[in-house]
């Protein structure tokens, strides 16, 4: 029986202490005597900030209790589709003394070690993706997408094609694709999937034309299916000199086996916090890479590390660069973590990742294939990194939704799969097991899901009333979001009590 910790833990801002401090700062009394504070009167802060005043023990105990009411890969299985929640090897933490104290504006001769890592990563990721060169400027996947669509934009602008204002996106795409395209000023055109869950190539043929700037695609797609017509898709795009963009969020299912560059993709982003085992940190920080092939390399964000006469320098600027995406060089601390991960696998290990993650997905499918209430589109096509089941029938017959199933799973100590995504599958449940979960865990997860669905048919209320073993029960979303009760910070809570904030109109 699984039970989650349940501390009645106040907010840190509610701690009553006063006249306490949690850490001492270095003090130089002689300097204090020598230098007088001389802040212009109109710049002085009027009110002391309302921060706590607590001892180190209070702070530590508070945050330890909060951590106990959280759930990560080290706690249990996190089968979140499209997120690749694989195990984060602990040896990655060795990196902190290589990188944590380095200032990004130090002279390059003082940071040759870290530049060597970045340089090696640029080359290794280009080889892994089948592209020519990678920039590690992008702090996350979405930032990579933004870089990619801006590269496409600049490419067409240089050719003075100002009417190319359409970006094609598959209807199964991650929400980030259309969001990134819109940020770059593109009109988004959705390409519907066919009955097999793949890009409808006939439809694509009709849509692609002189207004098409590019096509953002992920392969395998979010249903876990490989777009088998990819070579033809690439030809269609390239015939009108439009660019094919690879969303790397799903790369894990083909890692070491199939390379986006070989499929005809011109630009590729990678999520190092998915495919290359950087821990997710509760939602970040991640790290990214943006890689390009052929004439697109000139558009990459700068700077890129170069090796000249045996020395490394971080000042290479591609000819038509779109500029910088992040303040400095990207999330290097995490780039080094993924470097460690690659070292721990080598070429030999990397070649197994796509195979073993695909094996795990299809193994789960074989366990759930015949469960009444869980349906599959194109049921006999092999999946890659993930699989999407539909609980449409169950919702219709018993009123038990994908949302309810998710809550029943967290009640049994599994994190829930991704639900209601992709939008073209009703009541979708998207499972990604990754290659790092032992077979026994996959067995117990499949068993739990089977049991939940069976329960949904027999006693739907038992499922609909879950979770009961987690820290809290189902959340009141109305209070959370209502203009008169919305409370994004303790400050708002306080001001509302004092009658100082009105309803948010």
């Amino acid at each position: 029986m699984w039970r989650q910790a349940k501390w009645d833990e106040p907010l840190i801002t509610e701690y009553k202490g006063n006249g306490r401090v949690g850490t001492l700062i270095p003090h130089d009394d002689s300097l204090r005597k020598e230098i007088t504070l001389n802040i212009p009167e109109n710049l002085k802060r009027r009110n002391e900030p309302n921060l706590p005043s607590i001892s180190e023990l209070e702070a530590v105990r508070h945050y330890i209790r909060l951590s106990q009411m959280s759930f990560g890969v080290d706690t249990g299985f996190v089968p979140l589709g499209s997120c690749t929640m694989k195990y984060n090897p602990k040896v990655e933490e060795k990196i902190s003394d290589v990188v944590s104290g380095l200032h990004p504006l130090q002279d390059s001769e003082t940071v040759q070690g870290i530049l060597e890592i970045i340089y090696e990563m640029q080359l290794m990721l280009a080889e892994i993706t089948g592209t020519d060169i990678c920039s590690l400027q992008v702090p996350a996947g979405s930032a990579g997408e933004l870089a990619g669509v801006l590269m496409i934009k600049k490419y067409h602008e240089l050719k003075e094609r100002f009417s190319r204002d359409e970006m094609l996106v598959a209807d199964t795409a991650h929400g980030t694709n259309p969001a990134s395209a819109a940020m770059a000023g593109y009109k988004v055109i959705y390409i519907r999937s066919n009955k097999e869950g793949l890009v409808d190539i006939d439809l694509l043929r009709e849509v692609v034309g002189e207004k098409t700037a590019g096509f953002m695609l992920t392969n395998p797609n979010t249903l876990g299916l490989f777009e088998e017509n990819i070579v033809e898709i690439a030809k269609l795009l390239h015939n009108v000199d439009a660019k094919l963009y690879y969303d790397g969020a799903n790369m894990n299912g083909i890692l070491g086996l199939v390379r986006p560059g070989d499929m005809g993709f011109d630009i590729v982003h990678l999520n190092l916090h998915k495919t290359f085992a950087v821990p997710h940190g509760g939602g970040g920080p991640g790290a990214g890479a943006i890689c390009a092939k052929g004439d697109m390399v000139d558009f990459l964000p700068y700077p890129i590390v170069e090796k000249k006469n045996g020395k490394y320098a971080i000042d290479y600027i591609p000819k038509h660069t779109i500029g910088k995406i992040a303040s400095f060089y990207g999330n290097i601390g995490n780039v080094v973590r993924s470097y460690v991960y690659i070292l721990g696998l080598g070429a030999e290990g990397l070649s197994m990742i796509g195979k073993l993650s695909t094996l795990a997905t299809n193994y789960i499918i074989s366990k759930l294939r015949n469960v009444k209430g869980l349906d599959l589109i194109a049921p006999y096509r092999p999946r890659k990194h993930e699989v999407v089941f539909s609980a449409k029938e169950l919702a219709r017959d018993k009123g038990v939704t994908a949302f309810d199933i998710a809550k029943a799973l967290i009640d049994r100590g599994f994190y829930a799969p991704t639900i209601y995504f992709p939008p073209n599958i009703e009541e979708s449940i998207m499972i990604e097991p990754t290659e790092t979960e032992p077979k026994e865990v996959l067995d117990s997860f499949a068993e739990a899901l089977t049991e939940i669905v069976r329960e949904a048919y027999n006693n739907p209320n038992n499922v609909i009333s879950s979770p009961t073993n987690t820290t809290v029960g189902r959340i009141d979303q109305v209070t959370a979001n209502h203009p008169s009760t919305i409370t994004p910070t303790y400050r708002v809570y306080r001001l509302r009590q004092e009658g100082k904030v009105k309803s948010l109109q």
Binding site: A59, P285, T489, L504
Partner: protein, 447 residues
């Protein structure tokens, strides 16, 4: 491959394939055009898996290639070296935070949600603003998102950026707004004070100005003293105000909320986070209590609510702004942010508390002013007269290049070169009197 610590099913493939009903893993790739399948091993310098010991050795070898500096570098430019208490690192390395995903399932993620909420809350108190998001990538992208947000609100096509803002940030803003065709116009500065020139402000045509940005203290470490005037000017013309702040300085000086700023941004690096060679950092993003601003805010936000039994609970709020529901109509494409860094900053602010924060800001003030005094005693002056904090510019009679390399020969990393004769220096609580004296003495010897 035989066995591997991160691949538990290597020896189970046959058993699993049998369950699936195929006899080879490659059958699961039968839908892939066979000429796309890579027939060779990846060509990378590491062929076989390295053991943990071998990885450590490789990292040590690389670490030795970085120069071990005698003192923390005297360099800022948007990030400054600071001391990080062990308790911050200790909490940040808690598995339940560090290996968690975005808390989309609130019932099982209450601790993580509360920690993010506390970051938002502590930051709100520091800034005196009501809405804070769970973080952006860094300060630069936070400005860029603020500019894009202002454009969404008023549809105007240009933004005013002061020439004394951080140039690294400016580069990023330029890239991010290129797709929307937003024009960047220069807000001139007064060459004596180093502050924004409010007289020139009056001469700018503001018809199409969507937003105006102020950095406090600015890139040269100088406090802007005319913020009230600028905010007033902007409000009259319906221009959105964006202010970038150093969170540590807020122990002493007026927060953006007190000026009635619309959007506040900054970086959390100086409150408890490592330099990390420039990333991960932590972008701060806050808006005041105004529905138009809130609706257009980018990023994730945690809010307070209750569960079905009435227990206090936390959950992600206003999710209809985000990419996974709104797609091309989302306020931003951001998904992965810098949550763990935000939690680190929350722990740091909790430890420091209100007394510690003020104390630290004063200590930094004192140390940077002491360093400036030492420079001035030897005849080196700053080209600007404005009041400084943490960083300042010094002009030398000799090319700074030469000074810098002679310092490096002694294992001391000097300031950031701005032009042939000027450099920007940074002094924080990690730079002692002895270090400062040695730095200045060494410079004097070369000049």
């Amino acid at each position: 491959m035989e066995m591997h610590p991160w691949l538990p099913n290597l020896k189970y493939t046959e058993e699993m394939l049998k369950e699936i009903g195929v006899n080879d893993i490659m059958n699961l790739f039968s839908d892939v055009p066979q000429d796309l399948i890579l027939k060779r091993k990846l060509n990378i310098p590491y062929d076989k898996p390295l053991s943990e010991y071998e990885i450590s050795q490789r990292l040590n070898e690389l670490k030795k290639k970085n120069l071990e500096l005698k003192y923390p570098p005297f360099i800022g430019g948007g990030l400054c070296p600071h001391y990080i208490p062990e308790a911050v690192k200790f909490i940040m390395s808690r598995s339940e935070f560090y290996t968690a995903y975005t808390p989309y399932q609130p019932e099982i993620s209450q601790g993580l949600l509360q920690a993010i909420y506390e970051y938002q809350s502590l930051m709100a108190e520091l800034l005196e603003m009501e809405f804070v998001n769970a973080s952006m990538y860094d300060w630069a992208s936070a400005i860029a998102e603020a500019v894009l947000m202002a454009h969404r609100i008023n549809r105007r096509k240009s933004v005013l950026l002061p020439s004394n803002m951080n140039p690294y940030h400016r580069e990023v803003v330029k890239t991010w707004v290129y797709g929307k065709g937003i024009k960047i116009n220069e807000l001139p500065i007064n060459s004596t004070s180093g502050q924004i020139d409010i007289e020139k402000l009056e001469q700018i045509n503001t018809d199409d100005v969507s937003a105006i940005y102020i950095q406090q203290p600015n890139f040269y470490g100088i406090f802007e003293e005319n913020i009230e005037y600028i905010v007033d000017f902007a409000k009259k013309k319906n221009i959105i105000t964006i202010m970038g702040v150093s969170p540590l300085s807020l122990g002493l000086i007026k927060p953006p909320g007190e000026y009635g700023i619309d959007i506040a941004v900054g970086d959390g690096q100086e409150i408890g986070l490592p330099l990390n060679y420039g990333g991960p950092l932590m972008g701060i993003f806050a808006v005041r209590w105004d529905s138009q601003l809130v609706r257009q805010m980018p990023g994730r936000i945690v809010g307070l609510t209750k569960d079905e039994k009435g227990n206090r609970a936390f959950t992600l709020i206003l999710q209809t702004r985000e990419q996974f529901t709104r797609r091309e109509k989302a306020t931003s494409n951001i998904t992965t942010n810098e949550t763990l860094m935000a939690i680190g900053s929350a722990v740091y602010l909790s430890l420091l508390g209100k007394h510690g924060l003020r104390d630290l800001a004063e200590e930094i003030y004192v140390r940077s002013h002491y360093a400036k005094k030492k420079f001035e005693e030897l005849g080196f002056k700053s080209p600007y007269s404005g009041e400084i904090f943490e960083e300042f510019v010094i002009q030398f009679p000799k090319n700074y290049n030469l000074i810098h390399s002679s310092l490096l020969n002694k294992g001391i990393h000097g300031g950031l070169q701005l032009n042939d004769y000027c450099a920007l220096f940074c002094f924080t609580e990690v730079h002692t009197r002895v270090m400062i004296d040695e730095l200045v003495k060494n410079i004097a010897e070369v000049v």
